[in-house]
């Protein structure tokens, strides 16, 4: 009997980003159940060159025992390549930033995301099924023309973070947000909320924004905004930080804040939960689903309401303990074991897995 093959296609493969983690873990899972699995990428970031092949080097001859998984999140020539392949295909959707959330700042990028959505939509007629990493993403897929997307948790494989000791922080609270500096992440709303917070609750509070400056124009605007509000000393944009530095930051911060207008999942929220860092987040897109009951979901973007929610969280140890207890449930839901079970279960809809696996 010939070996079953399940190969993954990723537009851009990086060691540390969410899709990279998910793809590598998916490969390990497939190999562990005896399935031949390779990763094919268009762009390979440093450190991944030995772990993947360029998609132009994919088997020229089709095979009956092969399933192709497209890890879709951005515009890529791979979509056209895959649409011409005769093998059955599954789309694993990680969400595309809606163009309207970035158009004012990054017109070119908004055009690209717009085309990416169109590209992914066109693939709907050519796939045997689709997997979404959140119910929010599943809903998005439906609007792109996909029938019955299956929801399976993503693999979040960061090293275990030592849980931080809980503490009240009425003075000198440090807020943390992790995510690339891009308009859909709305870091400027966090700056506004910090200004409101410092005005009333804690004039020594600070905000650390971790993440690459994906939009230099927007990053400069955030810096200028903080300067004009007179809080530039309290806001720091660090750029990307290595894993061990991130663990320190999660441990030394007092609050994880998120005001994103759009997130397909938001891995850093789960990482904050792992570090027992309380979460206050604006309830847009997939965020309420990722947070569950383990954090404070703010219902609107008013900086004053956000600041107040932060204050309540930072000064109410009972509430924080509730969040920590709920975090255990969320962390279980997004554990590697649960992701493995759900993804194998999802794949069993499309390919015959070895006996006893599901």
């Amino acid at each position: 009997m010939s070996t079953v093959e399940v190969h993954q296609f990723v537009p851009s493969l990086a060691m540390r980003d969410a899709i990279g983690q998910h793809t590598f873990a998916m490969q390990a899972m497939l190999r562990s159940v005896g399935i031949d699995s390779e990763i094919y990428a268009d762009e390979m970031k440093p450190g991944t060159e030995e772990l993947a092949k360029h998609y132009h080097h994919f088997h020229p001859r089709p095979s009956k025992n092969r399933l192709l998984i497209y890890q879709a999140s951005t515009l890529s020539p791979m979509a056209a390549f895959l649409s011409e392949r005769p093998e059955p295909k599954v789309l694993n959707y990680h969400n595309v930033t809606p163009p309207q959330t970035i158009r004012q700042w990054e017109f070119g990028a908004s055009m690209a995301t717009s085309i990416a959505l169109d590209q992914i939509g066109k693939l709907s007629h050519q796939v045997v099924g689709s997997i979404a990493v959140s119910k929010f993403n599943a809903s998005d897929l439906k609007s792109l023309g996909y029938d019955g997307p299956v929801v399976a948790a993503p693999f979040i494989t960061h090293a275990s973070v030592e849980p931080r000791p809980d503490r009240d922080r009425p003075v000198g609270a440090s807020w943390l947000f992790v995510g690339r500096i891009f308009p859909n992440k709305a870091q400027h709303d966090l700056v506004a909320a910090l200004a409101a917070y410092r005005r009333i609750y804690d004039s020594a509070a600070t905000l650390t924004l971790v993440g690459g400056r994906a939009s230099e124009r927007y990053a400069c605007a955030i810096e200028e905004y903080a300067k004009r509000l007179g809080i530039s000393d309290a806001v720091s944009i660090t750029g990307s930080i290595p894993d061990d530095g991130m663990e320190d930051l999660y441990r030394t911060s007092d609050l994880f804040v998120c005001a994103s207008d759009h997130e397909g999942f938001c891995f850093p929220i789960v990482e904050a939960m792992r570090a027992r860092l309380p979460v206050v987040a604006y309830g847009s897109s997939a965020i309420p689903e990722t947070v569950g009951k383990a954090g404070f979901i703010v219902s609107d973007k008013s900086p004053i309401n956000f600041a107040t929610a932060a204050w309540i969280t930072l000064t109410d140890s009972g509430l924080r303990n509730t969040f920590y207890r709920q975090s255990e449930i969320q962390l279980e839901k997004y554990s590697p074991e649960e992701a493995r079970r759900q993804n194998l279960d999802a794949l069993s809809n499309f390919i015959k897995l070895p006996l006893g696996v599901v």
């Binding site: 004012q104 119910k135 599943a138 439906k142 997307p149 569950g292 004053i304 509730t322 449930i329």
Partner: protein, 360 residues
């Protein structure tokens, strides 16, 4: 996995699960009891903000400053204003010229010479292509400039049709009968109520006095400060942004009043869509409107009246707008003879599409 965790101090009543029209469960329905916890927490935020506002901690001018400061930093070119158009036009014009003289420099020996030779050999071909592309882009830029001139003429004409008035300019005030009616609907609906453009009537103050969970939004700092002094929960926020920024399905009632009805129809439609998203199923929009004939100058044709900003809409147009938003059962009250007001009451219908989502 046990999802039925006992409600903590922030807990509240559990809402029923519901599915969106696409068959996928909406945010409130993903984990039904989570949303209920958030209700209690939101109430704590509201109470704390209210307390702080009363103490003068968050004056409306501060909220306005926070927003206005950032708005000044948003780049031009992404919006639809004249400045945005000019900025985009200039940058397109600059990039319309293409340079055939490819740079030849190289740090590797001999490569520069090779590049020079290739450029010379290819020149006849590239020149031919470039000439056609340049002709095309030059014509395209001229076409854009001509279009701009034509759009400007239309804009000027439309501006001439606009009255660009506010309710206050027209010296129109909401009658007590209409306020009573709106209050009655809001009170019966229960839940959290947003009074949009709250500065122009006493609906918010009267609603707040009944102990209702309500707040108002407006952009008139003076009126907001007065409302704040009177102990009301208010927010400096343009109506469209307010309904867009509220978490989906978190309001039970939205009262729309004031100059809102004098906006361009497309803006009204956007506000209605935002309000629709902000409402829970079964929630209500109460729109306080005036008959087009309220102002004697409105003797134009119905089309001109309803399609240009700054004029009142016929009730048929209002009902049509709600139909376009979808998912509402809307009706208009008969006009109040005293000042030609009428009220549109639109109930958001419960989604009937069952969830078709399949979790792994």
């Amino acid at each position: 996995m046990n999802e039925s965790i006992p409600a903590e101090k922030a807990g509240g009543p559990v809402e029923s699960s519901s599915a969106g029209p696409d068959g996928v469960q909406d945010q409130a329905a993903i984990t039904p009891s989570r949303h209920a916890d958030m209700v209690g927490l939101q109430q704590r935020v509201v109470a704390e903000v209210e307390r702080r506002r009363k103490a003068g901690a968050f004056p409306p001018a501060f909220e306005k400053m926070l927003r206005a400061t950032f708005e000044k930093l948003i780049p031009q070119g992404g919006g639809t204003s004249r400045d945005d158009f000019q900025s985009l036009f200039r940058s397109t014009d600059r990039s319309a010229f293409m340079d055939i003289d490819v740079p030849l420099a190289s740090r590797k020996p001999g490569v520069s010479l090779a590049k020079k030779a290739i450029r010379k050999l290819m020149a006849w071909y590239l020149n031919y292509l470039l000439q056609q592309i340049t002709n095309f882009t030059a014509n395209l830029m001229q076409l854009l400039a001509a279009l701009d001139r034509r759009v400007r003429i239309v804009e000027d004409q439309v501006a001439g049709m606009n009255r660009v008035a506010t309710i206050d300019d027209l010296k129109l005030f909401t009658s007590s009968a209409t306020v009573d009616f709106a209050l009655d609907v809001a009170k019966r609906s229960g839940g959290r109520t947003l009074v949009g453009n709250c500065g122009s009537s006493d609906i918010l103050s009267r609603l707040a006095r009944t102990g209702a969970n309500c707040y108002g939004s407006d952009t008139n700092v003076k009126e907001l400060e007065a409302a704040q002094r009177a102990g009301m929960e208010i927010r400096w926020s343009p109506l469209k942004e307010e309904v867009d920024n509220v978490r989906p399905k978190s309001l039970q009632t939205v009262v729309l009043q004031g100059s809102f009805e004098l906006s361009p129809v497309s803006d009204i439609l956007e506000v209605l869509k935002g309000a629709s998203d902000a409402l829970m199923y079964g929630g209500t929009i109460v729109a306080i409107c005036h008959e087009p004939g309220t102002v004697p100058q409105d003797a134009d044709s119905r089309v001109a009246i309803d399609l240009s900003a700054g004029r009142f809409l016929h009730r048929e147009t209002w009902l049509n707008l709600f139909e376009r938003v979808g998912g509402f059962s809307a009706e208009a009250t008969s006009a109040n003879v005293e000042n030609s007001e009428f009220v549109i009451v639109a109930h958001k219908l419960q989604s009937k599409v069952p969830s078709g989502d399949s979790g792994a």
